[in-house]
């Protein structure tokens, strides 16, 4: 059943309802949507916050691990009193205080082939924000299996990339990256909170666009940016017809993406 906005929600969202082209229909789609967020760090935590305050109906947060003091330079949902405790617990508490109307489900686990189907099957969109390749690859495979759109973003130092994936229509993650960097250190990459937050905000914008039909998502386009130089560029990306993950999905007739 489609949920309508309450009176307090109408007041809460009235400023974004004056965005050019953003209508009540877009807001209702958001309220009736669910997002799976894999990774509640500097990127995914920021995405969760902005989806929550924009009015998404439900968030499922999947992230394994406890908060450390070295997380606090970038993770805006985390508070010092939660050091040593599960990050997802802190994230849910903060989100409930900021946006109590959002249902937040939490799972203190890694995304694996054994549990990914259970997390993705009720999601309308997924956010890829874990700092390792195995979980990013598994989330991509799960999204392709279930036809769920995926917002893929990653950063290193002052560089980041972002794209939106619609299985069967645009390149999937595996079409673009066949192999991981074996030297990648999950807990060792350099990160400035303002950069991971910028990327997280952009991923929230992409998710809102894909969920509501507002604007033009980064389908078959990859945004690259470097915040040390403030250079932004977009490259086109194409599906790999031989992709073992999504190659068997046929593109819609006449699809140009």
């Amino acid at each position: 059943m489609i949920q309508q906005l309450t009176g307090s929600e109408l007041e809460r969202f009235k400023r974004q309802l004056t965005l050019h082209g953003f209508t009540m229909e877009h807001q209702l789609r958001l309220k009736n949507s669910s997002a799976l967020i894999s990774g509640i760090g500097g990127v995914g935590g920021t995405t969760a916050l902005y989806l929550a305050i924009a009015g998404i109906g439900r968030l499922t947060l999947v992230h394994s691990g406890a908060l450390t003091s070295s997380n606090l330079n970038r993770q805006i949902l985390m508070t010092e009193d939660y050091i040593g405790k599960p990050r997802v617990d802190c994230a849910r508490e903060m989100l409930s205080r900021i946006a109590s109307g959002v249902q937040v489900d939490i799972h203190d686990v890694r995304l694996t082939p054994e549990n990914s189907d259970s997390f993705i099957q009720d999601a309308d969109i997924a956010i890829s924000a874990r700092p390792n390749f195995p979980e990013r690859c598994e989330l991509n495979r799960a999204c392709v299996r279930h036809g769920v759109p995926l917002i893929e973003g990653a950063m290193f130092d002052m560089d980041a990339y972002l794209l939106s994936i619609m299985p069967g229509q645009t390149p999937c993650f595996h079409c673009l990256f066949k192999d991981a960097d074996s030297r990648w250190q999950e807990l060792g990459f350099p990160v400035l909170g303002a950069l991971s937050g910028t990327l997280g905000c952009m991923m929230a914008v992409e998710a809102i666009k894909v969920l509501t039909g507002y604007g033009k998502p980064l389908f078959s386009r990859m945004l690259l940016f470097n915040l040390a130089t403030m250079d932004f560029s977009t490259i086109s990306v194409q599906r790999d017809p031989e992709c073992p993950v999504c190659g068997s999905l046929k593109s819609p007739e006449g699809d140009k993406t």
């Binding site: 973003g153 990256f177 990459f189 470097n226």
Partner: protein, 77 residues
């Protein structure tokens, strides 16, 4: 044999190693793979390539003045 000169831009960890960009000269009709093999980066690693803003495969031929961007997989989240 005549040659062509291209500009190579680096992303992520490669930027730390190689700098912002480099001019590279390769034989005419050379491929992306040939250009990468001339750089001191691991040619066996997987990279995403774009030429003049368009996604390209490693066997794509380059022409004089092309701008090749090399994007390694990154996973910071």
């Amino acid at each position: 044999m005549s040659s062509i000169t291209i500009t190579v831009k680096f992303f992520g960890p490669l930027r730390e190693k190689m700098g912002e960009n480099r001019e590279v000269t390769i034989p005419e009709s050379g491929t992306i793979r040939a250009a990468v093999e001339g750089l001191s980066i691991n040619p066996q690693a997987w990279y995403l390539y774009s030429v003049n803003g368009e996604h390209a495969r490693a066997d794509a031929q380059l022409k004089n003045g092309d701008v090749l961007t090399i994007i390694p997989p990154i996973s910071g989240g």
